[in-house]
Symmetry: C2
Subunit: 383 residues, 2 copies
């Protein structure tokens, strides 16, 4: 049976605070502040790990056992390359991490509404993370597409971060799914940001987990966070639609990562019904129906762990779906991605599987399949 | 063909500010303040009506034409009785209004997060609205089940509002779907509220439209409000589930009003998957799956204007569905409810139609079908 080229559109990386973290990448005036911040977080880390393990990980024992030796691939490029090979992944899109005390410094990737965040320090952290990531991706640039972390409280600053990142090989932008007290994404203050991403061909991304309110430490807070963070990650979609952003920027692309895919058809159905019904006067302003903007400009990244998402592929759009392993996180398909892919995608037509597994991602992130296919033929899943 | 008894579980009432509003029901020290507030709002009303008409109502011209003579049934009980008769509605559940400059005073029904709201004044307004509504419902108590407006910034105050309302014939409680800066509904501060509603047999309600953030005055703001207000109205569901409220209060019932019904199966599917999967250790705390709490304690009120909701009735639960006309609002089925019911419900088994049209509501609100069925046999829709 042939092997398939797989691009994982959802992986994570970040330098370990316990090993010095991002210190050398942080602007000198902030380095001391960052040092004690990282030391404090490292001290707190073990306790937090235990809580996390207790709350989340009981179902994952066998997976943890399979990852003997830890998950230092989050910052060690050589280990990462070996583990991607073993997992059948030819190339990857890299989001920030944070699961191993290795987050972008100063809560840079948590958005302007993060509890305790300082906007000015977040900017410093974003620059440090982006510099670190550019170096990290340069170790194997054909294989790694890193995303630029931006701080939207200052749009000019975000534009500078994007320009620097694109000039240094990064290939997309992480858009905070939540905006805190800032205006949401239908507001014209963000127009230069959309224009720059469109011009530079950089897809925007929202990722689960950084836009929710504070649930406190109460029984139920963790499942409430887990559940609501899905919706809060979808949320920019309808702001970009109704705000006319997709209308004015037909080349802008947005990827919705690690937030399931089964929400897409129902969401588009309601939005379309509004567009064709009570809000049909909006046609004067919006030339396409919401589902048509989706089809033209949006992508959803999924692991297809839930039932039904693959069956929904024609409603979601076969050209609008990306696969992702969530490496090196516990809760994804790694280190058993090959088996997961065989189980979920082997039953569908060959051209559709290839679109979802690599062609769509190659198109969005400008991966060179001429380079990746020989690697895929050696390491990819067989079916 | 026989006529069917219909209870509308979503109607609205409120005194017109242009006719003196709730003034005589407002505590004397606040009456002058209320008077100028109502005068100001009356002056602004015409401009707002025009905007509303332009944005929302283009699709509704024929409906408006059918309502010659205005919608004074919102405060005129005799006109209301005639219009309910003509529309085939034997009994109704009454929520606050606000569509005709007749909202509960001082934004009382808009929740603690309403833009510009003053919590202390909201309490004054809630008392005034509840007193007015108790008198209004007393005009035909077999036919009108009014809901108590509560102000949750002060839980003791809310308890007093509930006790007074129940003692004066009101038959349910309107729970703000949004909490502003207060803790959400998994917090123990609300425990006395759940206990009292359970003890007095008063169903809680969330209604679309009062929990959203401020979208500003930007292109797209109105469809964004319309779309997101659906989710924000669903939101208490999972807080009450994961917060253990349904577990600790098995007699508590919650009704989700005017926010569609097609969201229910998908939402329960994800919540159940969490409960059976990664959060299965929560079974120690929660003896039922989310869908089982739903089945036991929750109701969804819908107009079945969208396609597919009736087809989903076994997933939603035939015993968990209520019908509603949204009288006297433009966007519901009034004044053509009989035709809408025939179109949507005539095709399903008789016992299921009767459950949805009146039996479920009779059970939740303690309507006496022995009294209502003779009325239904005279005025109800035939099929």
């Amino acid at each position: 049976m042939p092997r398939h080229t797989v691009i994982s559109a959802d992986c994570h990386a970040g330098a370990s605070y316990a090993h010095g973290g991002f210190l050398e990448y942080i602007d000198a005036p902030y380095r001391e502040r960052a040092r004690w911040e990282m030391e404090r977080l490292t001290a707190e880390h073990e306790a937090r790990s235990r809580l996390f393990a207790e709350e989340f990980m009981q179902a994952q024992d066998s997976t943890q056992a399979a990852m003997q030796g830890g998950r230092s691939g989050a910052w060690d490029p050589e280990r990462r390359a070996r583990e991607l090979d073993a997992d059948g992944i030819a190339a990857e899109v890299i989001f920030p991490d944070g699961s191993q005390n290795n987050a972008a410094p100063f809560q840079a990737a948590e958005g302007p509404g993060a509890v305790g965040a300082d906007h000015a320090l977040q900017s410093v952290g974003a620059w440090a993370y982006n510099r670190w990531l550019a170096d990290f991706c340069a170790t194997q640039s054909a294989r790694h597409a890193g995303l630029i972390v931006i701080t939207i409280h200052d749009v000019d600053e975000a534009l500078a971060q994007i320009r620097w990142g694109a000039d240094h090989g990064l290939r997309g932008v992480l858009l905070p799914a939540g905006v805190g007290d800032l205006p949401f994404y239908h507001h014209p203050r963000y127009a230069p940001l959309w224009a720059l991403c469109e011009e530079r061909g950089l897809p925007l991304h929202t990722h689960v987990g950084s836009a929710t309110p504070d649930y406190g430490e109460l029984p139920g807070s963790i499942p409430l966070f887990a559940y609501e963070s899905l919706w809060f990650s979808h949320r920019p979609l309808w702001f970009l639609i109704w705000g006319g952003v997709f209308e004015r920027h037909p080349g802008l692309r947005v990827v919705f990562a690690e937030q399931g895919a089964d929400w897409v058809p129902g969401t588009l159905r309601i939005l379309d019904a509004m567009y064709r019904g009570v809000f049909r006067h909006e046609r004067k302003r919006l030339s396409l129906a919401p589902s048509e903007y989706w089809q033209r400009q949006c992508y959803v990244q999924a692991q297809f762990l839930g039932e039904g998402e693959i069956e929904m592929r024609h409603q979601i759009g076969v050209r609008n779906m990306l696969w992702g392993s969530d490496y090196p996180h516990y809760e994804g398909t790694w280190p058993r991605s090959k088996r997961a892919i065989q189980k979920n995608l082997a039953g569908i037509p060959e051209d559709e599987a290839r679109a979802i597994l690599c062609e769509n991602a190659a198109r969005v992130y400008e991966f060179d399949l001429g380079v990746l296919d020989p690697l895929g033929a050696r390491i990819g899943p067989e079916f």
